[in-house]
Structures are given as structure tokens and as C-alpha cells.
């Protein structure tokens, strides 16, 4: 087995799982001011992901670490070329984490209002920037042997923006569904109805993205070469339609599951289209960073494969177990009575 391919698959899986898990936290974070009419409702939203958000974010750190260990050249160039957007992303993630922790530690309305808006903004910024970054990676970065020729403004090209919007819409839908599943009463009903409303613009953006991808990127080349992989975009589309159908039957839990599959399918679609590139160059195909020219040595890949195949299943097991512990809906009464809650 070619370990480069193994690590390419793992790389894709780490990103996909990260977006699936942190996506609903980002979405619920963006929406908590809209969905929560009162302070306690907002706290219900925040506490609905309170026990798990930290563990979800670690998938990002692991995706970063895995890129560093398996594809160091890609890690080095991607992070330094995308310096400013990554910096904004980093600031947002820092603010988000402390906002959850700090928000309910004081009573004042001004204090809580400030942290509320910090949560909204610091959830929106990563959602948008991840989309913009991945859109630009799909399209290829302007780099050649001499280095990088792009700029922050150039990243905000129309395709980058459509990708950013797609991520924002996906996470909003995902977050609304999560809150619908995890809360009770009015709050849950409002979230469910918002999920129905958001589905239409999400579909519009998704169609625009799929069509635009044909012109802005070479992602579809791989699918023309090996049509069997079309199963990934088909799953994404079917799951997206499934979200609406299941919402129609009132089964929000199943709709949320379909939303998870949608996100996995979207990321899978992009990643399969990239292969064997990690970051294609839009200027000079020979300067593209591929899984072969940017990887670690065979020896390091072997060690890391051993580590990943030993520990990732363990991680998945205890994560599933934790989600089971915290299954069920979060109620206002429970949040109010729990002195450790956010």
C-alpha cells in the first residue's frame, strides 16, 4: 500500500470530520443570539455543545499536526502563504474558546452581550475563512518556483467567496438542526423552522458552487477519469435533499444526521478532486504541491501510520461514548441548576 495515499485519505478524513463536528458548533454559535430570545435560552444553546466543542476543535489541531508530520512542505507553504487569513482564523478561534468560558461568569447584561457578539463573530469568521481558503486551494494558489504571488485581496475572488458562503450556509443549517435536536420547547421549534428557511438559500449556494467549480477549478478532471468517484458528490447532493425531506417529516435527528453526511460528502468531493495534489498551483502545474513531492520520508510515514491506526480508533471510541453520556436534550431547568454550566 502506498503510504502517501493512505495519508492523503487520512488528511481528507481529518478535515471532513473536523467540519462535521465543529460545523454545528460554529453554526450554533452564529445563531445563538437569533435563536435564543432570553439569556437562559442562549445559555441552553451554548451548553448544548458545551461538553463537546473542545474535543471537536482538536480535530483541527490534529489535521494541522498531521499535515505537518506527513506533508511538511505543504504545511510550511500553506501556512506561510495564507498568513493573514490564518491569523484572522486563529484570533477568531481564540476569542470563541474564551467567550464560551467567560460569558456566564458575570451577571451583567453588558458583559454577557459583549461575549455574545464575540461568539457570533468568532463563529462566523472561521466558517467563512475555511470556505474561502478551501475554495482557493481547489482553484489553485498562484505559486511557482520563485514562491507565492497572491495577496489577501486576491483570495477574495468570486469563487473563493462562493466557497466561503457555501461553508457558512452549510454550518448555519447544521447548527440550526443541532439546536433543534438538543433543546426543548419553543427554542427547539424555532431552530427547526429556521433550518427549513435556511435550506433554500443553502441549496442555491450549493448549486452555484457545483456549477462554478466546473469553470474555476480542475476538480472534475478526476471524476471524468474515474466516474466511480462520482458517488461522493452524489451522496452529498442526496443527503442535502434528504435534510429537507426529513425536516418535512419532523424527524430532526435524522435531518441532522443527513446534514452530517452532506458535510462529509462536500469535503470528500473536494478532496477527491484534488488528488494527487494537496495544493495545486494555478500558475505552473510543476509547482503544485502533491502528496509525493511534499511528503515526509517513507520512514516517518510508517511511524505515523502506526500511531494513527493505533490511536485514532481509541479516540473515536471514547468520543462516541462521551456523546452517549451527553445525549438527550438540554433544558433551561438543567442549565439553571447546574453550577458548572456555561
Amino acid at each position: 500500500m502506498d503510504l502517501h495515499i493512505v495519508w492523503f485519505v487520512l488528511w481528507g478524513v481529518l478535515w471532513a470530520v473536523y467540519f462535521m463536528l465543529d460545523g454545528f458548533v460554529l453554526g450554533a454559535g452564529m445563531l445563538h443570539r437569533v435563536l435564543g430570545k432570553t439569556d437562559i435560552e442562549r445559555r441552553v444553546v451554548i451548553n448544548s455543545f458545551g461538553p463537546v466543542w473542545d474535543g471537536n476543535e482538536v480535530w483541527l489541531i490534529t489535521a494541522g499536526g498531521a499535515t505537518f508530520a506527513a506533508f511538511p512542505t505543504t504545511y510550511a507553504l500553506m501556512f506561510s502563504y495564507l498568513y493573514t487569513p490564518l491569523l484572522l482564523l486563529l484570533f477568531a478561534l481564540i476569542v470563541r474558546g474564551v467567550s464560551f468560558e467567560f460569558r456566564s461568569k458575570e451577571e451583567g447584561a453588558t458583559w454577557r452581550g459583549c461575549w455574545d457578539w464575540a461568539i457570533v463573530l468568532s463563529s462566523f469568521v472561521p466558517a467563512l475563512l475555511f470556505g474561502v481558503a478551501f475554495g482557493n486551494i481547489f482553484a489553485g494558489l498562484p505559486m511557482d518556483k520563485a514562491g507565492y504571488h497572491g495577496s489577501l485581496v486576491a483570495l477574495l475572488n468570486p469563487y473563493g467567496i462562493v466557497s466561503g458562503l457555501l461553508f457558512v450556509m452549510l454550518f448555519l443549517e447544521h447548527g440550526a438542526l443541532y439546536v433543534a435536536v438538543k433543546s426543548t420547547g419553543d427554542l427547539s421549534r424555532r431552530a427547526e423552522s429556521l433550518a427549513r428557511t435556511l435550506w433554500v438559500p443553502l441549496l442555491v449556494v450549493a448549486v452555484a458552487f457545483l456549477a462554478y467549480t466546473n469553470f474555476a477549478t480542475k476538480l472534475y478532471d478526476n471524476y471524468l477519469k474515474a466516474p466511480v468517484f462520482l458517488v461522493a458528490p452524489l451522496i452529498a447532493v442526496a443527503a442535502l435533499v434528504g435534510v429537507r425531506l426529513l425536516l418535512g417529516t419532523g424527524n430532526t435527528l435524522a435531518a441532522f444526521a443527513a446534514s452530517c453526511v452532506t458535510i462529509l460528502g462536500v469535503v470528500g468531493t473536494g478532496v477527491i478532486g484534488l488528488f494527487p495534489n494537496l495544493i495545486p498551483s494555478s500558475m505552473d502545474a510543476l509547482s503544485s504541491l502533491t502528496i509525493y513531492n511534499s511528503s515526509s520520508s517513507e520512514y516517518t510515514l510508517q511511524i505515523m501510520t502506526g500511531v494513527a491506526f493505533t490511536f485514532v480508533p481509541v479516540v473515536i471510541l471514547y468520543k462516541i461514548w462521551v456523546y452517549r453520556i451527553f445525549r438527550g436534550r438540554v433544558t433551561a431547568e438543567a442549565v439553571a441548576a447546574d453550577h458548572e454550566a456555561y
Partner: protein, 447 residues
Amino acid sequence: MDVLTLSRLQFAITCMFHFIFVPLTLGLSVLVAMMETRYVLTGNEMYKRMTKFWGKLFLINFALGVVTGITMEFQFGMNWAEYSRYVGDIFGAPLAIEATVAFFMESVFIGVWAFGWEKVGKRFHAVSIWLVALATNLSGLWILLANGWMQHPVGYVLRNGRAEMVDFLALVTNPFGLLKFGHQIVSGYTVAGFFVMGISAYHLLKARNREFFKASFGMAAAFALAASIMVGVIGDFHAADVAKTQPAKFAAMEAVWNSCNNAPMHLIAFPDEKNECNLVTALPVPGLLSFLAFHDTNAQIRGITSFPKDERPPVLPVFLSFRLMVGLGTLFIVLSAAALFLSKNGLLEKYPLFLKLLVLCIPLPYIANQLGWIVSEVGRQPWIVYGIMKTSDAVSKSLELTQVIGSLLGFTLLYGLLGFVDIYLLAKFARKGPEETHVGATNAFRN
């Protein structure tokens, strides 16, 4: 100011800020776990309240440790792309393993612990904080193995225009990394011991919740004494290893300019970098330095002048930081021994001055930790990887000055603000007694 200088400044600021929170996390996780274990074993409700009170402070501190940690991972790629490319084959592995093996465990079980009081059994709840403590310490192990490799590279060859790993086992058994890990972990325990003693002393002075804070104080004093003795013991081995592996750093730590056998240790010295000598040297103990470094009074110590000028670390900050760190470390042993003695004999409240002193001492172990990192990291200069790659060759090529100025300003502002809020909240909840730590959830509900 150029991109290199600003990137170094930014790395130093973000690293040191991150390192305000890490040592306390390392130690307090263990202390809180011990408290909760006592609760589970004895059923005594006071230990449950102890777990919750100190646990709340732990969580506030933990949050900032986590979020500032992400910065560290990103920065290797953002500002030090040439470094990441050149050594990523080796250096990326411990970071990725840290995330997979330790960070997941830590972040998942902190959720179980903070939110699971009613959801999991009493025993399992205690196990989850032990898992957090274990993961936090494991995390430190992998990071210090990574750092240890930068200090004393092992198990690699230079091939294909970069450093490639050939012996993973050598990396994980690198004595430099392991000694550094040992030294750092117990330093973190010392921070936590003095943190808990200081806050307990504050409440004892106000005569509030006396039983509660006496018990907290007693546990913390024993913990701090054991930890601070270990800091000294492991630190001594660590310094001896540095003398072997990084002679230039060792020479700077002790301000030894000229190579000599039977090197004395001067109790008082002050280096003069310009003239490559010491302004003052007094009270020599003959042969002590040679003995400490090589356990042989006749061994040769290499002086700074035996290194080419462009391979010498800045002497003054390394020398001063080292002296001050060792001085503080000694003070911690004395203070915690006295604290344990008074606490064991029920004499604490007889000596309010001593209690006041302990309140004032809370910052000192933090300072000692930061000084240790200055010795370690400034002492490694000009190398980013000792003997292989210079810091000046490691910086990202594509960076523009304005980008780094922007990020440096951003970090300074953001970290300044967050540090301020964090200290405010820590102080607020520390000052409140254990009965009052519940945030006004019920009131919010009534609104």
C-alpha cells in the same frame, strides 16, 4: 526591525503568554484529581467542595491554555516555514502524536468532568479528572520531546535537502527531552502548590472557611515541597546534560569566558559581554562547577571565547535568568518546607506574616518557569536546531514586514485583553469562598 526580529519577538510573546497558563494546568489538574480521589475514598463532602472550588479556577485557567496553544502549532508554519520544511520530517511527528494521543483525551475528558457531575458515577467522575491530568502531562512529554530534539538533535540524517528521521526510538528516548520534561512537569506542580497555598493563606488571614482552606493548604504544602525538591534534583541532572550537549549554553549560564580545568563556581559574578570577561567575580568555590557539570572536580569547562563569535548565545540574559531561577527554586524548597511544618503542627494562623508572605509569593514560581525558558531558548541561540540550523535561516521567505507587524500588534492587543479578563475572573472566583463560587445561574433563570 526586520521580519526575522519581529517573528522572534512574536514567538517569544506568544510562547511566554501560553506559558502563563500551562504550568498551573499541569499541576492543578493533579492536585484537583487528588482532592476528588479523597472525596471518593472518604465520602467527606468537604473534599467535594474543594474539588469544585479549585476546579473552577482550573477551568478558567485551562481555557486560555488551550486557545493560546493553537497559536503555537500554527506559528511554525506561518512564521517559520523554512524550519518546518527543513525539519518537518522529524519535528512534525511529536506534534501530531501529541494531538492524537494527548490532546484529544484531555479535551474530551475535561468536558466529561466539567459537565458530568450528574451524568456519570462518582468514581468515574474522579477517573475523568485523572485522565485529564494524565493527558495534560503526556501533552507536555511530546512537546518537550519535540523541543528536546531542537536542543539536542538525535536519530536523523541530512538527506534530500532536509533533516530526515532514521530512528524514532532515539527521538522518544532523547535524554535531553526527558530531563527537560521531568524538570518542567515538577516546576508546574510547584506553581500549582504555591497557587493553592497562596489563595488558601489569603482566606485564612480573613478567617473564612478555616477548615476548608487549612485542608487545602496542607495538601498544597506537601505537594509543593515534594515538587520543588524534585525540581532541584532533576534540574541538576538537566544542567549536567546541558554541559555535555550544549557547552555554549552552559558557559553562558555560568558566565565562564575562558576554558579551564577544575572550574570554580563563583557565588557572585556579573558578566561583561563587550569585553568578554566578568565585571565582578567573588567567593569562588574551587572545582564546584566542574563537579556539578561532569561529577569530576578536574573536568574541563569550555569557555564562551572558545566558540566562534557567530555561534555564541547572548550571555547576560542567560546568566541572569539562570541565577535567578536557581535562587527562586531554593527559596521554594525553604518556603514550602516551612509551610508544611506549620500546617502539620496546626500553627499556621499563629504566623499571619508568613501567610501574607505566601500570598505575595504566588507569582514567583510563574516567574521561575519563564526564566527557565529564557535560559533554555535564548541559550540555544543562534541555533534553532542546535548545530544544524540557525534561527536566521528558519524564517518564512514569503512574509512581508507589514504582515508581521500586523500580527504582532494583534497578538499583543488580544493577549493583553484576554490576560486582563482572565486575571480578573481568577481573582474574582479565588476571593469568593467555596460556598459562593456558584455563578448566579438561578437568578439568570428567574429573569
